[in-house]
Amino acid sequence: MNRSQEVSLDTVRSGVRKKKKNKDTWAIIGFIAPAFIIYGVYVIYSIFMTFYYSMFDWTGIDANMVFLGLENYVRLFQDGVFWTSIQNNFLLVIASLFTQLPIGLIMALLLFSPIKGMRLFRSVYFMPFLMSTVAIGILFIFIYEGNYGLLNAVLGAIGLESLQTAWIGKESTAIWAVIATVCWQFAPFYMILFRATIVGIPEELYEAADIDGASGWQRFKSITLPLLMPIIITSAILSVIGSLKYFDLIYVMTGGGPNNSTELMATYMYKQTFTNFNMGYGSSISFSMFIIALIVTVFILLGDRSRRGNE
């Protein structure tokens, strides 16, 4: 918004300008360097190596690397399982955006509503996120089980026997069962993100609204939501990227099955890399995931920019 002011401030006294510029430069480097160095050593290096490996036919365990150029990518585009996995990933992205964020927001707002026992609600709402994926995976395998699973028992108890099914044993329901679990696990994270932002909204804004006699909904719509918008965009990006490279619960709960119906790009990549000993091909899946995430993120950022431009 007014970030440009700083520079214009500098221009006031051009004599000081050069010195100040230098000082700023050193400050910028000093502030960024520690993070950047560690980040570069591990992360940028890894991204670079992933791309490098993706150009080879390589098992990952021997010295014999055959240079293929972009042939792995050509093969990837003709790989049916890869397309299934992209499709599943986008299902997950959409489901995450439209469940994790709203549920996270509802929970965050509930925590500011006048209800008693706030500490209890606040702690329990967060619990899915602190449970280990191993525990969640094992428990939900049993919850979704077809013969004596908890979900079917609950459905039976409320008279919905017709809906009972072997949730993760059927190709048609497996992906939804896992997606629901993933959303359940991550909604609390967005809750704390939103909560942390709402906490920072100055009370005076609401006081002013109260004087105007605004209703709860109006307060939310005219004050909370606009101020939350930047963090919602950030959350959307985190959610999209997280969903695009999601791995854990699929691996624990279904292993990508039955019949590849829950395969995600990351689980497929893992299978190719470590089960089938196709490190080169697996890396090309990784790098494609990286590119897809990058493109989607850029789109969100551009969309956000034009949104702000319109305001």
Binding site: D62, G146, N259, F274
Partner: protein
């Protein structure tokens, strides 16, 4: 601009680190073809000169990765102790790993240039992958092949060279609940038709005939292996695998596939079988609660029962998968496998000492201890069994004319994966037997014949 220049310098520094740490330094211990003529591993290993200076009696540290748990783990540890007592200058660092992630862990360690000296495998296609990558030492001259069960040793023998020593074996019978069989007036089946009758009787009584958890995939593969063998005979798989005669889309395979789907249609397996996990015990749970009566499973089921519900053991009986009328296989052909097999890594700094440790791990003493305490059949000849159950299993194996090793461990990993995936799809009725077998055959042509 000044800060831009500095940033480029930082990037350059990072790139330098790339260069220093590229895989060529560590993974490529043998880049040139003329260098790859086996010999000792030390020649190709970094810092080899130091090691060659050292005499054999110098201090040495070996690392051993295994995945045994419970009593078998103790047997391994006792063997290591014996070895350390006989070789006071050698220290062995033993690491027990978790079965499933172990495979990735070893791949990364091999590829990253820092594998353990001695590692666990199941022989077969997985071990061969490492052998083909020049990562495993040929120990033909260091082991006494005559002490091992022939079938067991075959899983780690490639081109007549031995790359690993076996310790234990398992066979796969059909386990059943004796009480329930009695209750419904059932007897152990002789023919496949008998088995179908049993399935019919059980489903009529609202009992799931077979407890099967097929998210795990290899569990369902047992049925395909048995049916294919019973229909096509013991040579069917070998011919298909060695590309000498019949193939993976042979009629026998297709028929085996349709028989599986016939069983599925009869309700022989639990609802949602492909979503259930063997490791978390979802199929055993059905046995324990007597909602299922049978399970085709390796002998380790007994260990699981002893851990989880000891009193169930007395109800547990077993028979061999029955023969199919008109098929070429016989009832006394078994499906089985070997685990553990111990091998020496090519990158080991002390391959000779490591081979000695392998001998100790796959010795009569270790095998005896493992068989008697951990309920597996010895791969080393001459073990006296104390456990009557293992005795029975072992007799079963000895009386069998042919042992079919698990497909998923015998085949190259990529093909094994296709076999497992298509078999799972058969159980889910989401593919036809013809399609499934054609897919396996297509992959076989690509993977084996390349």
């Amino acid at each position: 601009m000044f800060n831009k220049k500095l940033l480029w310098m930082m990037l350059a520094a990072i790139l330098l680190i790339f260069a220093a740490c590229g895989p060529s330094d560590s993974a490529d211990t043998e880049d040139t073809p003329d260098n790859s003529t086996e010999d000792t591993a030390t020649e190709t290993e970094e810092g080899s000169e130091d090691n060659e200076m050292e005499a054999e009696s110098e201090e040495a540290t070996l690392t051993l990765w295994h995945i045994e748990t419970g009593p078998s783990e103790e047997a391994i540890e006792t063997a290591v102790q014996r070895f350390e007592e006989n070789n006071p200058n050698v220290t062995v660092e033993v690491s027990q790993q978790e079965n499933d992630p172990y495979k990735s862990q070893l791949s990364v360690a091999m590829g990253g240039g820092n594998p353990p000296d001695i590692f666990h495998s199941w022989g077969g296609g997985w071990l061969k992958q490492f052998v083909d990558s020049d990562q495993v030492v040929d120990i033909t001259d260091s082991v006494d092949a005559s002490i091992y069960n022939e079938a067991a040793l075959s899983v780690s023998t490639f081109d007549d060279q031995i790359y690993g020593a076996p310790v234990s074996m398992d066979v796969v019978p059909v386990f059943y609940n004796k009480d329930m069989f009695e209750e419904y007036g059932l007897e152990e089946p002789e023919t496949y038709q008998d088995l179908l009758d049993i399935v019919q009787t059980l489903t009529d009584n609202d009992v799931t005939p077979f407890a099967l958890a097929n998210q795990t995939k290899w569990t369902g593969s047992f049925y395909l292996m048995y049916l294919a063998e019973r229909i096509g005979g013991p040579e069917l798989f070998n011919e298909a695998f060695e590309r000498s005669g019949r193939t993976f889309d042979d009629e026998a395979y297709v028929e085996a596939g349709s028989k599986i789907q016939e069983l599925v249609d009869m309700g022989a397996f639990p609802e949602g079988v492909n979503g259930m996990n063997y490791d978390t015990g979802q199929s055993r749970q059905m046995l324990y609660t007597e909602s299922a009566a049978m399970m085709t499973m390796g002998g380790w089921l007994v260990n699981n029962v002893r851990d989880e519900m000891p009193e169930f053991e007395e109800k547990l009986g077993f028979f061999l998968f029955p023969s199919v009328e008109g098929g070429e296989g016989a009832k006394n052909h078994v499906v089985g496998g070997v685990s553990p097999v111990f091998s020496v890594a090519q990158q080991s700094e002390h391959p000779e000492i490591a081979a000695e440790l392998v001998n100790e791990l796959a010795s009569l003493e270790t095998a005896t201890e493992m068989s008697n305490n951990a309920g597996s059949i010895s791969a080393v000849n001459g073990v006296e069994y104390e456990d009557s159950y293992i005795q029975e299993m072992s007799e079963l194996l000895e009386s069998s004319e042919a042992m079919q090793t698990y497909y998923d461990q015998t085949l190259p990993p990529e093909l094994a994966q296709v076999h497992l995936d298509t078999t799972q799809a058969l159980f889910g009725l989401s593919t036809t037997p013809e399609e499934a077998m054609a897919e396996v055959e297509a992959s076989a042509q690509e993977v084996i014949e390349e």
